[in-house]
Structures are given as structure tokens and as C-alpha cells.
């Protein structure tokens, strides 16, 4: 006698597919059993083929759940059609839809199987884009939507120069944003900011006792630490004069780097460390939980500007990122107005991500050109434009759904 199914639930993703693809009542009646069977199939596949088996079982199982969901919908429509008098009441009656829907889906599947290269390309595109989007979203979430681990982070704004007539704006905390002369103009002209700072991410070669190590450094104006309200764990942070371009080089270590490269030694403060060939005097260590956007920054170096960089001719050398802290009552709109008054360039705070839909639509467009003959034959055989259009729509939907599931699976 078979063993009783346990009450374990399948992972959320599988339940999501059931929820999306199945009519509600039938899903409620079947989902417990379907989930048990799916878990069994995944476990079985894993036992036989290891981790690749798990991935295959997931893909297969989700496609399987979607297919059965379509069947359940078709049954539901057919049952409703029977209740409506047992006979189809013209082309568009409810009972007429399921058979055509089923045949549309079948045609779509057949066309996609026949044109494997196209299907693979489209699915791969959707998969990569969706996975990338999910990955980007998690980055966007951690960078933009989740508050920075900085006190009153909602008052911190990012300033980027954009050029409306030269393509989409490149903005964001990592994209280059401001030129040195702009920074100094704003230091003088902005009244709504409490503090302003620029920074620049760069790679650094650090000469340690046991060799040279490459890591990431952030050059920042001394005002940066006041702006983000950081305090040193050991030693001190930069003073105003460390930001002079000809000041003696000083460095601050992240907690992690202090532990990793110097074993948490107190004596490292006051020592010289050669970074990119220059001796930097270590003056402090940041607290363990201090983080600004990137979690891989190990070293903090002072950023100063030589007079040549501040010249007007460098107004478009947007090589630095600029942030500012608004005064308590000031708004972004006020800051915008002031910046506009200073240089008449717009301010953009958030990047936009959109690429999937356009990519895939282009592919389908290219393909439709190659299918004129097939359409002509169908039309000759009596398929109306509505029917042809619906078939193409079904095909596209089918492909998109499949790509969506794969994309979610890839991002999982």
C-alpha cells in the first residue's frame, strides 16, 4: 500500500506557477497532491542525476504544471459551454473558445518546435534579460530602495551632469557624474546643502609584507565623512587640509581590510603603506558596520584637485561622483532649482532599466517577415484575420510565459 503523502509544501516558485496557470477551484482541489508529486519527482531526479537533475526537474516540472493548467482551463470552458445549452452559439461563444484556444496553443508549440533556432534565441534572450533584470533589481534594491546604512540617508542626494541631447543619461552612484569646476561652483553657490562631497572609485595595488595585493579604494574629499556621519573606530579621519592636492598622502582602512591585511594590529596606525607606488600614512580605521554603497572598498584616500583640474576647460570631465546632504528643511526641488540656476543642466537621480521588451519584439518582427507564406496558406484555407492574429498572439504569449519561467528559474 502506498505511503501517505506528507503535508510538506512545494517551494513558492512552483506554487506560483500553479497559481498563475490554473483555474482557482481546480488548483485548490489538486495543489496538495500536485506539490507532493512534484517534490517526489525532484527528489527522484536528484537521486539519479545529482544537481543537474534538480534543475532539469524544475524546468520540466514547471512546464508540466503550466501545460496541465491550460488543460484545466480548457476543461472549465468546455464545461461552461455545455452548461450554456450544449451547443456552440456562433464563433465567439464560450464553448467555441477552448477548442480554438487549444488548437492555437498546439499550433504555437508546433511552430516554435519547427523553428528551434528562433525559439532558442528568443528564450535565451528572455532568460538572460529576466535573470539580469532580477539581478539588477536586487542591486537597485540594495543600492537605492533600501536606505543607505547612514544616518538620515533620505537627505543625501546624488548629483550627475547629464546631456539630454547625447543619448540616455548615465547616472547612478557608480557612474561618473560631476566635473571638478562644477563641484567648486556648487560649494560656493548652493545654499540648500549642509555638506557636499565628491568621490571616485579606483583600483589600488597595496604593497604588503608578503607581496602586492590588488584591491579597491575610494578617493573622497575630506567632507565626505562628515556628510555620511562616519566616526573612526581607531585613529582619525581626514582633516580639511588633507584634501589639498599637494597634501601629504594619508589613508584610512576599512575594518575588514584592517583585520585581513594587518591582522587587526593597532600599530598599523602611523605606519606608511605603499599604495599604487606612493607611500600613504595610515591615520585611522573605520567601524565594522560602516559601508557606503560598495562593500568591497578596502581603502579610503583623500581626494584633492590640482588647479589644472579646476579650470573651466574641464567642465565636461565628469570623472567624479558627487553627493550632498540637504539641510533639514530643504527639498530636492529647491536643490534642483539652485543647480539649474548655477549651470542650467538638469539633475537626474535614478537610472532606468528597460531593455527586454524591445529586444524580443524586434526578434519577432524579423521572424514575421519569414512567415508570410505560412500565413498566406492558412488564409487560403479559410482562416480569418482574427484567427491568424490570435494564433500569433498565442505563440508570443506562449514563448513569453516559457521565457518568464526560465528567467525566474535562472534568477532563483
Amino acid at each position: 500500500v502506498s505511503k501517505a503523502p506528507s503535508v510538506r509544501r512545494a517551494p513558492l516558485l512552483y506554487r506560483l506557477v500553479l497559481w498563475l496557470a490554473w483555474p482557482a477551484r481546480e488548483r485548490r482541489a489538486q495543489s496538495a497532491e500536485l506539490e507532493q508529486m512534484f517534490l517526489h519527482c525532484v527528489a527522484e531526479s536528484r537521486r539519479r542525476r545529482g544537481w543537474p537533475g534538480v534543475v532539469l526537474a524544475w524546468l520540466r516540472g514547471m512546464a508540466d504544471a503550466m501545460g496541465a493548467g491550460i488543460f484545466a482551463w480548457a476543461e472549465l470552458f468546455a464545461a461552461r459551454g455545455r452548461m450554456n445549452g450544449g451547443r456552440s452559439m456562433g464563433r465567439l461563444s464560450l464553448s467555441g473558445i477552448p477548442r480554438e484556444l487549444v488548437s492555437d496553443v498546439r499550433l504555437a508549440a508546433r511552430a516554435l518546435v519547427r523553428d528551434r533556432l528562433f525559439t532558442a534565441t528568443a528564450l535565451l534572450t528572455l532568460l538572460v534579460c529576466l535573470a539580469a533584470n532580477a539581478a539588477i533589481f536586487s542591486i537597485v534594491r540594495s543600492v537605492l530602495l533600501k536606505p543607505l546604512p547612514i544616518p538620515e540617508a533620505d537627505r543625501i542626494v546624488l548629483l550627475s551632469n547629464i546631456y539630454p541631447r547625447s543619448g540616455p543619461p548615465r547616472t547612478g552612484p557608480g557612474a561618473s557624474g560631476t566635473s571638478a569646476p562644477d563641484y567648486f561652483d556648487r560649494l560656493e553657490g548652493m545654499t540648500v546643502f549642509e555638506e557636499q562631497a565628491t568621490y571616485q572609485r579606483l583600483s589600488a595595488s597595496v604593497e604588503l609584507a608578503d607581496g602586492v595585493e590588488r584591491t579597491v579604494a575610494l578617493r573622497a574629499t575630506p567632507s565626505f565623512f562628515a556628510l555620511v556621519r562616519a566616526r573612526p573606530l581607531r585613529g582619525t579621519l581626514f582633516r580639511e587640509q588633507d584634501g589639498e592636492f599637494d597634501a601629504a598622502p594619508r589613508a584610512i582602512l576599512s575594518y575588514g581590510y584592517w583585520q585581513r591585511a594587518f591582522g587587526g594590529e593597532e600599530a598599523v596606525i602611523g605606519r606608511d603603506v605603499r599604495i599604487n607606488g606612493v607611500a600613504f600614512h595610515v591615520i585611522g580605521v573605520l567601524p565594522r558596520d560602516f559601508q557606503f554603497i560598495w562593500n568591497d572598498v578596502d581603502l579610503w584616500l583623500p581626494l584633492g584637485f590640482a588647479p589644472a583640474l579646476r579650470a573651466d576647460s574641464r567642465r565636461h570631465s565628469n570623472n567624479w561622483n558627487m553627493i550632498a546632504r540637504l539641510k533639514p528643511d530643504a527639498t530636492v526641488a529647491q536643490a534642483q532649482a539652485e543647480v539649474d540656476a548655477i549651470n542650467a543642466r538638469p539633475l537626474e537621480r535614478f537610472p532606468q532599466f528597460r531593455s527586454i521588451i524591445i529586444d524580443s519584439a524586434n526578434l519577432l518582427l524579423v521572424r514575421s517577415a519569414g512567415r508570410v507564406r505560412e500565413m498566406a496558406i492558412r488564409q487560403t484555407l479559410g482562416a480569418g484575420p482574427l484567427r491568424l492574429g490570435r494564433q500569433l498572439l498565442t505563440e508570443t504569449t506562449f514563448l513569453t510565459l516559457l521565457g518568464g519561467v526560465l528567467g525566474i528559474a535562472a534568477a532563483w
Binding site: S2, A4, V7, L34, E44, A68
Partner: protein, 109 residues
């Protein structure tokens, strides 16, 4: 009658000796084919609905010894029509095997 799809035949064989629920059918089919045939939940759901519509299987009471671990799975058993259909399919396959043997494709056993 048209040929039975292969997985329908497997399902009919699985419920030929005793009533089974979905997971039981998957396990039985997998066990009796050394894991060669793997049924998937949705595929099984569709097949059982079709088989029941065609009168080849029928819903059955759970065996007395069945203990539910939550939920109430449906059990299925084979019907007389189902037996007839699978016997016909088995004969068709046996005929095929006999032909293969006669043509010396298959030797021994």
C-alpha cells in the same frame, strides 16, 4: 480503438492490481520500469482526467490501510473497459515483439 499513448498504458498497468493515488502511480510506474519512465504531476493529472472520461479508470475508495498524512488524495482503479484496452495494447506489443524475434532483431528470452 486507437493506440493507447504509452504513458496511459503505464498508468493503467499501475492501477491494474490495486487502487492507487497520484503519487502511488508515479512510484509504481517508476519502480516497474527501473526508473526509465518518469511521470510528471500535470501530465498524470491530464491523463487521469482523460482516462476517467473514457471510462478506462474510475475513482475508488482509499484502501483500509491507507493513512492520510493530511489532505485527501483521490484513488483510482482500473475498469473492465480499461482492462480490455490494456489487454489489446499488450497483445499489440507482444505481436510486435514476436515480429522482432522472427526477424532476428531480438534473440533469447
Amino acid at each position: 480503438m486507437r493506440n493507447l499513448p504509452e504513458h496511459w498504458f503505464h498508468i493503467l498497468l499501475a492501477v491494474a492490481d490495486q487502487a492507487r493515488h497520484g503519487l502511488g502511480i508515479i512510484q509504481e510506474v517508476s519502480a516497474s520500469t527501473n526508473g526509465e519512465v518518469q511521470l510528471w504531476p500535470g501530465m498524470l493529472y491530464v491523463a487521469l482526467r482523460r482516462l476517467a472520461d473514457g471510462g478506462l479508470v474510475a475513482e475508488a475508495d482509499p484502501p483500509a490501510s491507507f493513512e492520510s498524512g493530511g489532505g485527501r488524495p483521490r484513488f483510482y482503479r482500473i475498469t473492465a473497459a480499461g482492462r480490455k484496452a490494456s489487454a489489446a495494447e499488450a497483445r499489440r506489443l507482444a505481436q510486435l515483439v514476436a515480429t522482432a524475434r522472427a526477424k532476428r532483431i531480438l534473440r533469447g528470452t
